[in-house]
Symmetry: C2
Subunit: 380 residues, 2 copies
Amino acid sequence: MKTLRDIETPALVVDKGVMMRNIRRMADKFAGHGVPLRPHVKTTKCATIAKLLLDAGAKGVTVACLKEAEHFLEQGIDDLLYAVCLTPNKLPRVKKLIDKGAKLSVIIDHIDMAEMAADFCQKNRLTLPMWIEVDCGENRTGLKPEDPRLIDLAQAIFDHDHLTLVGVLTHGGHAYGAGAVDDIKVIAHEERLAALAAKNRIESHLKVTTLKVSIGSTPTAVHGETFEGIDEVRAGVYVLGDLFQWQLGSHDVSDIAVSVLAQVMSVEEGKKVITDAGGLALSKDRSTQKSDQDFGFGLLCNENGQLFDPQAIVNGVHQEHGEIYATKQQPHLPPDMMKVGALVRVLPNHACMMAAPYDRYYVVDGDHVIIDQWAKTTGW
Amino acid sequence: MKTLRDIETPALVVDKGVMMRNIRRMADKFAGHGVPLRPHVKTTKCATIAKLLLDAGAKGVTVACLKEAEHFLEQGIDDLLYAVCLTPNKLPRVKKLIDKGAKLSVIIDHIDMAEMAADFCQKNRLTLPMWIEVDCGENRTGLKPEDPRLIDLAQAIFDHDHLTLVGVLTHGGHAYGAGAVDDIKVIAHEERLAALAAKNRIESHLKVTTLKVSIGSTPTAVHGETFEGIDEVRAGVYVLGDLFQWQLGSHDVSDIAVSVLAQVMSVEEGKKVITDAGGLALSKDRSTQKSDQDFGFGLLCNENGQLFDPQAIVNGVHQEHGEIYATKQQPHLPPDMMKVGALVRVLPNHACMMAAPYDRYYVVDGDHVIIDQWAKTTGW
């Protein structure tokens, strides 16, 4: 029997029981709405977890880079939506994926990209399925439903033999800035209505009735109440959960399934503990900085995933050092971690950022026994 | 001839001419002092660059994790100092490295770790060279020169047949918080004096005269004036340079040799440009937040590495999106980047954090022609 005491740190740990509960909760909600999920697997970057999501009813997965798409395709997961606006230099790799059998679709928001893609596809005898990204208020990429460029872009895609217009897609990412659950409910409405408005405008212009609608983010998926007219919902962080989603009201702290295992390298009795999980191991994400509770660079658990009493956070990081100081807010550091060689687990501010650099998950279920290892992908 | 237009983004780019100038400047300075460098290669994580450093006179390299040590040893670089305090779970991997021929030394600051290492080494018939880390004011790891535990730790290492006390090591990392170059000069003095004080105390207690002294950080190496009594200087960021070091006064902006190549995916004329280099590609490091100039998530150059006029920064990041907005500070975004498919290069706040996730450098020399590719290591 191998446990977390037998591996090297820093290491990425996932609690399977907690994760499966998260997966089932979201699957049950959307089964109730009769709307399939296409989970965003940029959070987990792991084909084993993607298969558990598909087993729970997901219709496919969403990826944030083509390296992810390759990882999933290699493991037989072929229904892939690449949901970051395409750039021209990625076209050859997109072609390779489609040639290998991926049912890959991409998103764009600019007519220049449609034209560059059309040229490439014509030269390479490729048909490329595309979604138009709609901006429902996030103000990142995408066109507003009322933007005249929306129709021009739709027409350009529709007209070109080598491009297929699948539908419209939006991301209610501004829910991450919401102050309260009621605000998230409003944003969930806006997200759905913006996508439907864009779809209706394009359909009425092109005289078609075939466009699909893809929406979603973890907060709007959790708190959204109506999904009528929606063809699929993309959410991703809910699978692992994190401190920021907890603060947003997406789930409880006990729903956080992912952590980084670290070992204590240095202690100053009562004052300071230094671990080997620093800025690279935890990421420098500070999502909770403006939350009700600021968790620094992560919240500390023991090796079994139980919160310390009193709670303690990672106050600072260097590249390979995590710093835990006694402060006014946490005057008494947990004695259990006050020993060179002690193991701690750090819950993330932002699961996607923390998990990204690791090449595997060590899988536990409620304690520190390793029941499995799951490979994941990294980089681009 | 391949150029930056022929590769996929995000990608890590190093300008060889600029880097070699950085390497030579530091090598010349320390050749003048008669003190060898042991550059910290956690910044670059690249054996090809390490060999260029050795060619320029470095006596060996410093690493921040054992994966780095393995990468360098595989490429024939065997003089390795692992300069993050050892934890017990890394002992088996340390042994493997030494068994494979690495002249590896480690650092510790706690007697418990000395005892655990001694037990392991005795059982495994290993002799482990150790440095004691001294805290010269950084307040991270290490013991103050006057701390009574310093002598106990030195005695414990000295007494054990399987441990060798190489010397004392310190890192003037608090220079990163210095307000002005004069403050850095003071910290450079403190760094040297703290290390020498610790060495003298231990030598006088143990009645030996053989201890080595290792010090260094990029700011204190650049601005330090006296290195008498010092056996080696560890600095790393100077090889690539970054915006934070520029703000600290370690070098000029034209000395920044590293950037991330990104491609524009979305534009809103005059208002907003979105690229494919986001929080993972640039890191979420915000080192310059409190500098005279806050560069957001990085300063933008064109594909040839020339700063745009007017200058522009990456204002925000999502996982795979970089956001460049027109603001009061930068009301006019450079027209050259206002086009889907345009290439930009982003100079980092903190080179070590930005370079970490990439598996290679695309090497250029003053323009956008790729003259080489250098493999690097990632992860732990």
